[in-house]
């Protein structure tokens, strides 16, 4: 059986911006696959190409073995797409929207009523379904959007940042629901810039940055692959670059230190990779004391998905995210998403 989704060497430019430079992914049937990356990494563009909303400049995309470029209708029938921005017609009731959706996916007329009743009960929408969507709160809108995406029982449910703007409780509820979908056999592809979301939910993850895939694997394999423990050391709240540099040289000389990265975005903090050994912290603190260096903060942990990102890009996901948000041009992005 062909994988649920295969993306090969995807490339997509918008004007002078390389939204996606080179993305290749294989998503197996029945797994939850997470696409993790900061804002502006190319996640949404990848999904838009998959869901036939954008035409790739080059590369191949297949859904269950059929190219979305040559067989777009077949792909659209197999995919359920839940966009990041919930677009509802505020004049329609939830039921009317689902009826429209059912007709657009050519669900036989005799089955429409029953199918709508199913998704309404699945997502506990019965209280709201006959009210106009303009009266819905954010969480209900998202739920209706999920219901719409599931109405035609897609093989692959594609969700773009499904929990942005939801509170923790709703987020966990969405996670539970996606796990249930997987158990029932649906392949789920989600994008997220929340580390914990991907860590908690995804069977496999691809980390994507600046339009490139920088790592793929199960979350635990990616973390274990890094090896060693992580020590984050901040000499001062804002450490001068020269001091960070000299400390890096000093600590690199320690036998159990495998790697040192200076994280500029976090006031030149030092991120160390060390052999898992209990006295690493102590030894480092001792060395700092002997060199007469201050310690603002120091902590040790097992590697996280963020460390996978850090190792590949030299900055943490959160920092990359913040930097990307500052650089975003909402007007331009709106233009890209408009058809």
């Amino acid at each position: 059986m062909a994988p649920a989704v295969v993306i090969e060497k995807l490339q997509k430019r918008y004007g002078s911006v390389d939204a996606v430079k080179d993305v290749s992914l294989t998503i197996e049937s029945g797994e939850i696959f997470g696409l993790l990356g900061p804002n502006g990494a190319g996640k949404t563009t990848t999904l838009r190409c998959l869901c036939t909303l954008a035409t790739p400049d080059s590369g191949q995309i297949q859904v269950s073995g059929d190219s979305v470029l040559t067989h777009p209708r077949r792909a659209r029938q197999r995919l359920g797409y839940v966009a990041q921005e919930v677009a509802l017609d505020k004049v329609l009731t939830g039921r009317e929207l689902l009826e429209l959706q059912a007709a657009l996916y050519h669900i036989p007329r005799a089955q429409i009523k029953g199918r709508i009743a199913q998704v309404v009960s699945l997502l506990s929408l019965s209280e709201w379904i006959d009210q106009k969507t303009g009266t819905y709160s954010g969480g209900i809108r998202k739920r209706l959007d999920l219901a719409a995406g599931l109405l035609h029982q897609p093989d692959v449910l594609v969700l773009d940042e499904p929990t942005v703007g939801l509170d923790i409780e709703s987020r966990v509820a969405v996670w539970d629901f996606l796990r249930q979908l997987r158990t029932a056999g649906t392949t789920v592809l989600i994008t997220s810039h929340y580390l914990e979301e991907v860590d908690a939910l995804a069977d496999r993850v691809a980390i994507i940055d600046k339009g490139l895939v920088i790592a793929t694997g199960t979350p635990s394999a990616l973390k274990d692959g890094l090896g060693g423990d992580r020590i984050t050391l901040r000499l001062r709240e804002f450490t001068p670059a020269a001091e960070a540099e000299s400390t890096k040289v000093m600590l690199s000389a320690l036998s159990f230190v495998q790697d040192v990265i200076i994280n500029e975005a976090q006031g030149n903090s030092l991120n160390l990779v060390v052999e898992p050994q209990s006295d690493a912290l102590l030894t480092i603190q001792q060395a700092l004391k002997e060199a007469g260096l201050p310690t603002f903060g120091i902590s040790q942990s097992r590697p996280s998905l963020d460390d996978v990102y850090l190792a590949a890009t030299g900055q943490t996901l959160l920092d990359a995210d913040l930097a990307a948000v500052a650089l975003r041009d909402p007007k331009k992005e709106k233009k890209q998403s408009m058809r």
């Binding site: 509802l88 017609d89 429209l100 959706q101 969480g139 029982q153 093989d155 539970d176 629901f177």
Partner: protein
């Protein structure tokens, strides 16, 4: 915008995916699928109209205002000045009819533009539509229905105001003429809705085309009133080719397709000739929009 989603209790059987091509209903034909999607999209537009009747109301009140107020403006002109019409109100009826239909059709692209801007169009585009022209078809059906309704009301109104009523074949021809114009202009407006960057630009285009096309047509005054250059402009304006035949049908019970309805600076135009011009206009509009839509739907 933080909201609680209560954990849904899923029945796993209901979640099971339909399974590849089985999902593509093999029993239904492409044509019935096209009908299904077009009907559903049209239904949405009518639900919108029903819940937001203000545009419909405005579309009905506006022509009445035209007829009553603008019609009264020239009430005291000497009889016979406006060709065969007995009074200005009667003369104006045809112009208002065409202009109202034209205005409605010109706005056809606006809902589509808003769907683009709000992302609702993406919902339609990720769906396995047989043809994305169903989106265009739904808008065309909607606007056409609305125009027919408006035209009927204007015909009734002007009959009440003393413009008289053509016979049944005449009415049918009036309806045909309005339809031809509406289809052509709707196509152009929908094309613009996909070609222009946003609703501001679309409204600007509607704004600058609407009134000038009205003034540069025979809606408000006959060609003979105009300076030569404006006669040329009005004679190249498709609206004139809708207005003049309708006016002729109203004023001449003995009309035929060979009747000369308009004396342009370059030729005499018969009723059949006007129809031909409208058909040509529609064909050109549809063809150019078709290629444009194919590109943005590719």
């Amino acid at each position: 915008m933080s909201q609680t989603v209560t954990p849904p209790q899923a029945n796993l059987d209901q979640l099971r995916p339909a399974g590849g091509t089985a999902a593509i209903a093999a029993q239904s034909s492409e044509f019935s699928d096209f009908v299904q999607e077009t009907a559903a999209l049209t239904k949405r537009l009518f639900i919108q109209l029903q819940r937001r009747p203000s545009t419909l109301m405005a579309g009905l009140i506006q022509p009445v205002m035209w007829l009553v107020l603008f019609g009264a403006l020239f009430q005291n002109v000497p009889p016979g000045l406006f060709g065969g019409s007995e009074n200005y109100g009667q003369f104006l009826g045809a112009g208002v009819m065409v202009f109202t239909a034209f205005g409605g059709a010109l706005n056809a692209g606006l809902p589509v533009m808003f769907d683009r801007e709000f992302g609702f169009l993406n919902r339609l585009l990720v769906a396995p539509l047989v043809s994305r022209f169903s989106i265009v078809a739904a808008s065309a059906i909607f606007i056409t229905t609305l125009s027919v309704l408006q035209t009927a009301i204007i015909i009734a109104m002007s009959a009440c105001l003393g413009a008289g009523l053509p016979g049944l074949p005449g009415l049918a021809l009036v309806g045909t003429i309005v339809l031809l114009l509406v289809v052509a202009v709707t196509a152009i407006s929908l094309g613009l809705a996909f070609a222009l960057p946003g609703h501001i630009e679309l409204i600007a285009v509607i704004f600058v085309t609407n009134l000038p096309l009205l003034f540069a047509s025979t809606a408000l005054a006959p060609l003979s009133f105009m300076p030569n250059w404006l006669q040329w402009v009005a004679s190249l304006n498709p609206l004139s080719y809708a207005i003049e035949p309708i006016r002729y049908i109203y004023n001449h019970a003995d009309w035929s397709l060979a009747s000369v309805v308009m004396q342009t600076p370059f030729a005499e135009v018969t009723l059949a000739g006007s129809l031909l011009v409208l058909v040509g206009f529609g064909a050109v509009a549809l063809l150019s929009v078709r290629s444009l839509l194919s590109r943005s739907f590719a």
